[in-house]
Every structure is written in structure tokens, then in C-alpha cells.
């Protein structure tokens, strides 16, 4: 039932319960406001939105007045304007009038509204109050004297970030906004308060004073750090990325972006960028021109094909590469006769690859996650892996959904999951089998994988999860990084699918990188070509490539010491290889050792391209700046290599021709059915004894751009390389926090400090990847020996 109201002489049919300001906003009628924000609860404390409502003696706040039938609103009557002007005057009593030194000048809501509603002169002649600035960490600068107490930042913490870090202290003249005890904000979404703050009280710290809003050129972009594909506005000036702000997209990131998306651009200007092609000659690095470098690459590759064979080349590409790059990379290698192509650099088990769909895609859209009734996350620290998907999960929880976490670590979340099933990492498959057995028994469908199910004992925790799954209408099961990278990933995926079948639910993968879906679709996997067609002879996956110690490797935007699972194996393979070609944006000390040729490629915001996000949405973007120095967009480098190798079909002029080719392939090819059903093992693999490593990528170690962003590295969320263990385990091993220990695995060993955390379970120790210090361990999920030194 709709009701009719009138605003400024126009009538509107609206849903009851809406606020006047929502109706006005939808109709494009401007009502000034400070505290109201469509994504936050209504606080109605700034009073700027006062409007004249007929039959009301006093003006009413439009943001907090629900519409009523026959309501007549005037937003520009004398009463309304007088009220708004009076509020403006009150706000400016304590606000400093020094816009020229304020970083918000030129993009300030208060400045804009003061222009319309302020007076040219102040009647106030007494002292203004001043407030001490707060230190909120390396991302957000404060000038609290400018705060107008709209409490948007406070409400953001409570309602969106899920962690009340900002609050308002004191009353009246003494009101102050800040953290109660001085501390850096720890939320992974914290910097959104920069956009929310209508004045210059909270501003972007790395960007501070570096440019004015009017100097910036705005480009659209897509985040390259996670599978969400958040929409960005990249602000550039004189061919440099100055800052990144969110671009609103209700279906993906709403009005938010994570701090990782916002501040990773600081890594683009890192001195470790490679800006010209380089060759290693007699152990010395030499800068050469592109012509020489490309010629050398071609000759070296032809040499390998002649002396060995093309399938002795290993091609490893980052899942953050664009569709164009991934497509040309596999086309280049396949054109030479090599199918050893993989993007699944963080994974260790590929048993399930034949049964995978053409490309992994969430069964529901990102926006629909918040409508779910039950979400089960297996092996996922979603809050750090995909912050904006986690935000949707939290919204679902807020809407009353049950959220169950099955994890090897009791990750800290910004809400309390309904149930957390904590098991040692190596016992995750056992836990899933237990839950599946409960489900199968309740559904009396125990034939499939009978032996496997019989081999585990059901615990009450398993039954609790199974009961929740059965009572929900269509549960959503999400597999996080911990499940996908697990040495039993295939079995876990199969069990998750079985759980979904038995409970009428759906399974989704929260894939690593920005473009895993694109990588699968273009065939950047060893067993399938573009659009999911099976290749004649399945080739080596990334782990087999390392183990086979091939004579030549081509790495595209991959730093194996940081980015790959089983990093020591990778480093060993690379150091014995006769030829390692790195197409990369950054040069690392390890790369100087193992690489022979470095071709500099464009980084984030420097190349046009396409990402396919986790819900299968294609998002294309243009370059915002030209690549640094001599670097060139990756797809162009691959195209020229294709030409120089005289391969067919490399005559692209613009990058869209590549995506067009892929699209037309996708319409003509029907992907074949997965080759043969998955066969469950008859029993679970034997669980090793002793201390076991759990490997994960901390939020700000996830890719090379992020790792080079200094502000992110200084936040409290950034981690240091340590070995994290439970207090019980530390006690058993006789270790205290901070002790230096030797962590060894087979012949490899690294020295790390001990960190004790009650979030660890049993004999699992957390040793993060993404650090050179931990790269010396060969098994990301193997047993380790820990000795005091």
C-alpha cells in the first residue's frame, strides 16, 4: 500500500515508513544534511535537514520524519530556509574558518552547504573551542577541531565495521569524538570513515596535503586484490595515482571499499618497481632495451624447445592477472606446445580439478549473501581474505542468519558466529566427513562414500552443524583459502558438495586473487584450454612443476617466495632452472638470484583489462595512468612475444579484441562434462603426528602491490613473520612469547619468534606466507619441528 505525499509542490507515491529525505533524494530534491547517510542508521543530531511540514508548528528533520498520508513538505519555504540558516550558523560557531589549510577544502560538505546557507559574516565574537587531535594510525589523519559531531564515523564502526572503535565522549561544548584510549583503528574497512566524514576531521593520511580535489582526474577501476572486484574511482594527477576512493555499486561493494583496495596504490611508486627490461649476464644485472630483451626471451625459449621439449617449460601466472593477460599467456605457451600452465599458486592439492565447473562461481550473487538463512564457512578467515564478502556475511548474521565457521584457527571476527567448529588443520577433512555422515544418516542416503563415512566417528559438534544445515532451507557453504589451499582440498571440496546435496544447499568457492574465475575460463590451468575444453594431454599443475624441476620457467607477476604455497620447493626448482623469465612489476632480492630475464610489466591502474569476479561478473576497465618507466602492459608484452615467436593469432591491436575472441569462443564451445565422477577414498588419509604448520596469507601480504604499500604495512593488522601457537603447545614445548626458535621441515629451516595466541588449536602452528623469512619452508601444510636456539 502506497501513500501520497507532496514535496515542493510535486506529489509522490511512496512506501510508508520511508523518511522524507529518502523520498526527496530519490526525486532529486536537495535537502542539506550532515549526519544522515543512506547506509547508516538515522541519528538526527545535526538538524541541518530541517524542512517545513504543513500542520507542524516547528520545522522537522527530514531524515527522521517518516512520511504520512497527505503530508505536504516544503524544503525551500521561508520557515525551512530560516531554520537551515540558523543551524548553519550554530555549526560554524565552533568550526574553524580556515578552509585554505584544510585538506577537505574543495570536497567538503560543510563548505558546500555553507556556501548555500551560511552568511558572509560571523556574528560570533567569542573564542572558538579547539580539540586535541587523535592518532588513529597510519591511514587516517585527524583534525578534531573540525568535527561537527555528526557521529557518522561512530555509527560506521558500530554498524558496518562491527567494531566500536570510535565513540563520542563528553557532552555539549565538551563533546569529543575519538577512540576512548588512544589507538590505531584495527578494522579492515576503517578508512571508509574518511569518505563518511562530511568535514575535514578525518582525512586520508598518505594523501595528506598532496593534491586538491579539483586537480584530480577520476578514472573508473576495479580492485585487483580479492575476488569481490570492488569498483573504484582512481584519482590521478600528472600521470600519478594520488588516491583511490570507492565507486558506488550496490551489487558489489555498496559504498565501501576495504583499506587494502584504498591504500594499495601507495605501492605503485615503490623504489622496488622495475622500470626497464633487465638481463643477467655473467651474474650481473644489465639494463637493456625492449628489443634486446624480447629477442633474448624468444631465443632462450626456442633454445629450450630445441634442446628439451616445449613441455619442459613451466608457465605460472598470478590469479590477479587480467583476463587478457591470462588468455594470451596460455595461448603463447600452448602455441609453443606447452600445457604446463597454472594460476593456482597458493594451492597444494589438485585432485578435484577434473570435476571442477568451467569456472568457479558463487551460487548466489554477492548482494544475495545477506539474504541467506545459513552460511557455513569452511577454512576461511573471510574478514581478511574478502573483506566486503565478509561484510555481507555479517549483514546476513545481523538479519538473523546463522553463520557457522569450521576452521583450523579461531579467527577473530567482527561478530560472534552462531557456531564455531575448531579442529586442527589436518583434521578438517575428518570434521567434514563427520558432518556429512550425520547428514547422510538423517537423510538415509548412505550409499555414496559409504566406507569413508563409516571410518569416522560422529561428535556432538558435527551433529550440531548437520542439524543446522538440515533445518535451513537452502544453506550456503563457502570454502575459504584454508580449504582451497589444504593438502586435502579435493576431498574437502567433494565433501562440501556432498553436504550441500544432502541439505539442499549450495557450495561456493571464495577464490584467491582477483581473477581466479577468469583464469579458469581462459584455461590458465594445465588440464583445460579456453572455455573449459579438456586438453589432449593433461600437463603439470603448479606443484608438479616445482617438483619436476623443469629447465625453464616463465613467471607472470608471481614472486614464488611470497606468493606460492610450498615456497622452498619453488625456490629450489627455480634456482636449478637454466632459464627463468619474470614478467613482473617489482624486483625482489630473491628474484635477482633466480631470474635470468626480467620484463617490467604494468601494475594496478596502469593497464586496461578485465576481471571476472567471484559471482561471474565481467568488469572491464581502462588504464588510469601510463605505466611507470619503460614498463608495458602485460598483454602487449605477451602479444609481441607471440609475434616474435611467429605464432598464429597474435595480431591484436586493442585489448578488447582479446576479450571478444574469448567471448566468441565461449558462445561456440560447449564445455565438456567433467571427465569422470569424483571417487571418494575409502578412508581418510592418515593424519601425521607432531606439530603441523598452517599456512595463510595475512591481509596485507596478499600480493606484491599490497606488500609494497608502506602505510598498510604500518597498520596494526599487518603481521610480522612469527610462529603462532596455543598456550598449551608453547607450554609443552617450553617456549615463551618472543623466544627465537628454529622451525625445521626436512632439510629446510627458518628462525622465527614465538607468538602465543589462544586462537590456535591443538598442535597447529600458524606460520604465514608472504614473507621472505618464512619462504624457506618447503611444505605449507606439513609437520614442522620447533627447537629453541
Amino acid at each position: 500500500m502506497k501513500i501520497e505525499i507532496e514535496i515542493d509542490g510535486k506529489s509522490f507515491e511512496v512506501e510508508p515508513g520511508k523518511m522524507i529525505i529518502e523520498v526527496a533524494d530519490a526525486a532529486g530534491i536537495v535537502i542539506p544534511r550532515f549526519c544522515y547517510h543512506k547506509k547508516l542508521s538515522v541519528a538526527a543530531n545535526c538538524r541541518m535537514c530541517l524542512v517545513d511540514v504543513e500542520k507542524s508548528r516547528k520545522p522537522l528533520p527530514a531524515c527522521a520524519t517518516p512520511v504520512t498520508p497527505g503530508m505536504v513538505v516544503r524544503t525551500r519555504s521561508k520557515l525551512a530556509l530560516d531554520a537551515q540558516k540558523a543551524v548553519m550558523e550554530f555549526l560554524l560557531i565552533n568550526h574553524p574558518l580556515d578552509c585554505p589549510i584544510c585538506d577537505q577544502g574543495g570536497q567538503c560538505e560543510l563548505q558546500d552547504i555553507a556556501l548555500g546557507y551560511g552568511s558572509d559574516n560571523s556574528r560570533y565574537d567569542q573564542g572558538k573551542r579547539s580539540v586535541k587531535d587523535k592518532n588513529l594510525g597510519p591511514l587516517i589523519e585527524t583534525e578534531m577541531t573540525r568535527c561537527i559531531h555528526c557521529t557518522r564515523c561512530v555509527r560506521f564502526g558500530r554498524e558496518i565495521a562491527g567494531i566500536s572503535e570510535m565513540g563520542s565522549i563528553g557532552r555539549g561544548e565538551d563533546t569529543e569524538i575519538g577512540t576512548y584510549v588512544e589507538k590505531s583503528l584495527t578494522s579492515e574497512l576503517s578508512a571508509n570513515i574518511i569518505d563518511l566524514c562530511p568535514v575535514g576531521a578525518l582525512t586520508n593520511k598518505p594523501f595528506r596535503y598532496r593534491a586538491r580535489a579539483w586537480e584530480l582526474t577520476q578514472h573508473s577501476g576495479v580492485s585487483p586484490h580479492d575476488c569481490v572486484g570492488s569498483n573504484l574511482h582512481i584519482h590521478t594527477r600528472r600521470n600519478a595515482v594520488m588516491r583511490v576512493v570507492p565507486k558506488e555499486n550496490e551489487g558489489i561493494n555498496e559504498t565501501w571499499i576495504s583499506d587494502r583496495d584504498r591504500f594499495s596504490c601507495e605501492g605503485l611508486s615503490s623504489p622496488e618497481r622495475v622500470t626497464s627490461p633487465q638481463l643477467k649476464r655473467h651474474g650481473q644485472w644489465e639494463t637493456v632495451d625492449w628489443q634486446t630483451a624480447l629477442q633474448t626471451v624468444v631465443e632462450a625459449l626456442q633454445d629450450v624447445t630445441e634442446h628439451h621439449s616445449a613441455d619442459r617449460i613451466g608457465g605460472i601466472i598470478s590469479p590477479n592477472a587480467t583476463v587478457e593477460e591470462l588468455f594470451l599467456f596460455q595461448k603463447l605457451l600452448r602455441g609453443m606446445g606447452c600445457h604446463n600452465i597454472d594460476h593456482r599458486i597458493t594451492q597444494t592439492d589438485f585432485h578435484y580439478q577434473q570435476a571442477m565447473p568451467t569456472y568457479p562461481k558463487l551460487p548466489v550473487s554477492i548482494a544475495d549473501i545477506e539474504q541467506q538463512e545459513l552460511i557455513v564457512v569452511i577454512g576461511g578467515n573471510t574478514q581478511h581474505e574478502q573483506p566486503l564478502i565478509h561484510h555481507r556475511i555479517r549483514k546476513a548474521w545481523d538479519n538473523g542468519a546463522k553463520v557457522i565457521m569450521i576452521n583450523p584457527v579461531d579467527f577473530e571476527f567482527n561478530f560472534t558466529p552462531t557456531q564455531t567448529l575448531l579442529v586442527e588443520n589436518r583434521r578438517l577433512p575428518e570434521a567434514l566427513t563427520g558432518v556429512t555422515r550425520c547428514l547422510a544418516e538423517s537423510q538415509q542416503d548412505t550409499e555414496i562414500a559409504k566406507d569413508l563415512l563409516q571410518s569416522v566417528a560422529v561428535t556432538p559438534a558435527h551433529r550440531e552443524v548437520a542439524d543446522a544445515l538440515l533445518s535451513a532451507k537452502a544453506p550456503l557453504i563457502l570454502l575459504g583459502a584454508g580449504a582451497q589451499n589444504h593438502p586435502q582440498a579435493g576431498l574437502m571440496y567433494a565433501l562440501a558438495e556432498r553436504m550441500a546435496q544432502l541439505s539442499n544447499g549450495n557450495v561456493g568457492l571464495l577464490t584467491a586473487g582477483a581473477n581466479a574465475a577468469g583464469a579458469w575460463l581462459v584455461g590458465a590451468v594445465p588440464h583445460r584450454g579456453p572455455t573449459g575444453l579438456n586438453v589432449s594431454k593433461p600437463a603439470l599443475d603448479v606443484q608438479r612443476m616445482w617438483e619436476s624441476e623443469l629447465p625453464a620457467y616463465v613467471l607472470f607477476n608471481v614472486e614464488p617466495e611470497h606468493d606460492c604455497a610450498n615456497s622452498a620447493k619453488a625456490l629450489k626448482a627455480l634456482s636449478q632452472a637454466a632459464l627463468v623469465i619474470c614478467l613482473t612489476s617489482y624486483k625482489t632480492p630473491a628474484m635477482e638470484q633466480y631470474a635470468d630475464i626480467i620484463l617490467p610489466i604494468a601494475s594496478f591502474a596502469e593497464t586496461p583489462g578485465t576481471f571476472i569476479n567471484v559471482e561471474g561478473r565481467w568488469q572491464s576497465f581502462q588504464a588510469a595512468v601510463i605505466p611507470k618507466g619503460e614498463s608495458r602492459p602485460g598483454w602487449k608484452v605477451l602479444r609481441v612475444l607471440g609475434n616474435l615467436l611467429s605464432l598464429d593469432g597474435f595480431n591484436y591491436v586493442v585489448n578488447t579484441e582479446v576479450t571478444d575472441e574469448l567471448r566468441s569462443l565461449a558462445t561456440t564451445n560447449t564445455p565438456e562434462q567433467p571427465a569422470g565422477p569424483w571417487r571418494y577414498p575409502s578412508h581418510l588419509p592418515t593424519v601425521s603426528e607432531g606439530v603441523e604448520r598452517f599456512c595463510y596469507w595475512p591481509i596485507y601480504r596478499s600480493d606484491s602491490v599490497v606488500r609494497h604499500s608502506q602505510p598498510l604495512q604500518k597498520t596494526p593488522l599487518s603481521e610480522t613473520p612469527v610462529v603462532t601457537m596455543s598456550p598449551q603447545l608453547a607450554q609443552r614445548l617450553g617456549l615463551e612469547a618472543g623466544t627465537e626458535v628454529k622451525v625445521s621441515q626436512g632439510g629446510d629451516a627458518v628462525v622465527l619468534q614465538v607468538c602465543i595466541s589462544h586462537r590456535m588449536v591443538g598442535d597447529t602452528v600458524g606460520i604465514a606466507a608472504g614473507f621472505l623469512e618464512t619462504a624457506g619452508l618447503a611444505e605449507s601444510f606439513g609437520t614442522v619441528k620447533i627447537e629453541r636456539i
Binding site: C99, P100, I101, R208, Y209, R210, A211, R212, W214, E215
Partner: protein
């Protein structure tokens, strides 16, 4: 008769004398030519000549890197880079004016909220080398330092009309 008169005029060089009369009048009247460089024309306090960046009496530079002058300059002659200084105040790291682009409109001075960038009454300057036309922050501050008294006086003189 008139022919006879013409003859006399031409024999006595009458026309020349008439011309010399004018010459003679100017020879003895007050001169308008000035002896540059020893002398120069008077300039109004509003004269828009070479730019300068000013300081406060305590030596602190006035400019706060608000970039209004850069934005208002119709000739795009001003280039500013800004960053927080060590004391976290807002300061320029680069402040350049290209005097070949500048059209001496004075908008920069008009827009400056702290009277930092000004156009002095200096009008006699030249460049001998390519690149000298771009005045950097140090040069502009140096001009300001040298002529601060003149600038302040000109500003005070003009204040009544603003």
C-alpha cells in the same frame, strides 16, 4: 605681389625659421624623456610586475599551499606541489611561476588568502638563458625578502581602495 613675397620668404629661409621656432620652443621647455636606467617612470602601488612570495615578520613563509592561485591562474603559469612539513603544517615543496606564460593579470595575488603571492612593482628584469623564466620558490621568496618593505608600503597605500 604674392609672387614677390614668396621670393622674399624663400631667400630669407622663412619656413626654416618657422620650423626652428618649434624646435626652439621644445629646446627650452620641460623635458618628458627619462634617462633610463638612471631614471624611471613613476609606478602606481597597484603596478603588476615581477612576483614575490612573502614571509611573516617572524620569518615564517606565508604560503600555506592552498593552491587557490594555481587554480585561478588563467594562463596555467603556476605549478605547486605540496606535502606536510616536518611540523605537520601544510607547505609547498615546489612553487613555480613560468613568467613566459604569465599574463600579469594579478589574479594570483587577488586569490591568495594570506597575501603570500604578490606582484611587486619591479618591472626591469630579463633572462639570458632558457629556463630562467621559471621562477622557483627560493627565488620568489628571495624577491619577497628583498623588497618586503616596498611591498608592505604598496599594500598599505592601496588598502584604502580595496
Amino acid at each position: 605681389m604674392s609672387q614677390f613675397l614668396e621670393k622674399i620668404k624663400s631667400f630669407t629661409l622663412w619656413e626654416l625659421l618657422v620650423g626652428m621656432k618649434l624646435t626652439g620652443r621644445y629646446l627650452f621647455s620641460k623635458k618628458v624623456t627619462i634617462q633610463f636606467p638612471e631614471e624611471s617612470t613613476p609606478t602606481s602601488p597597484r603596478f603588476r610586475g615581477l612576483h614575490a612570495l612573502r614571509r611573516y615578520p617572524n620569518g615564517e613563509e606565508r604560503c600555506i599551499a592552498c593552491k587557490l592561485c594555481e587554480a585561478v591562474c588563467p594562463a596555467l603559469a603556476i605549478t605547486i606541489e605540496a606535502a606536510p612539513r616536518a611540523d605537520n603544517s601544510r607547505r609547498t615543496t615546489v612553487y613555480e611561476i613560468d613568467l613566459f606564460k604569465c599574463i600579469y593579470c594579478g589574479f594570483c595575488e587577488e586569490s591568495c588568502p594570506v597575501d603570500s603571492i604578490v606582484e611587486t612593482t619591479l618591472k626591469n628584469y630579463h633572462f639570458t638563458q632558457r629556463g630562467q623564466n621559471i621562477m622557483n620558490k627560493q627565488e620568489l621568496l628571495a624577491i619577497g625578502d628583498e623588497f618586503e618593505q616596498d611591498i608592505a608600503r604598496d599594500k598599505a597605500d592601496d588598502a584604502a581602495f580595496r
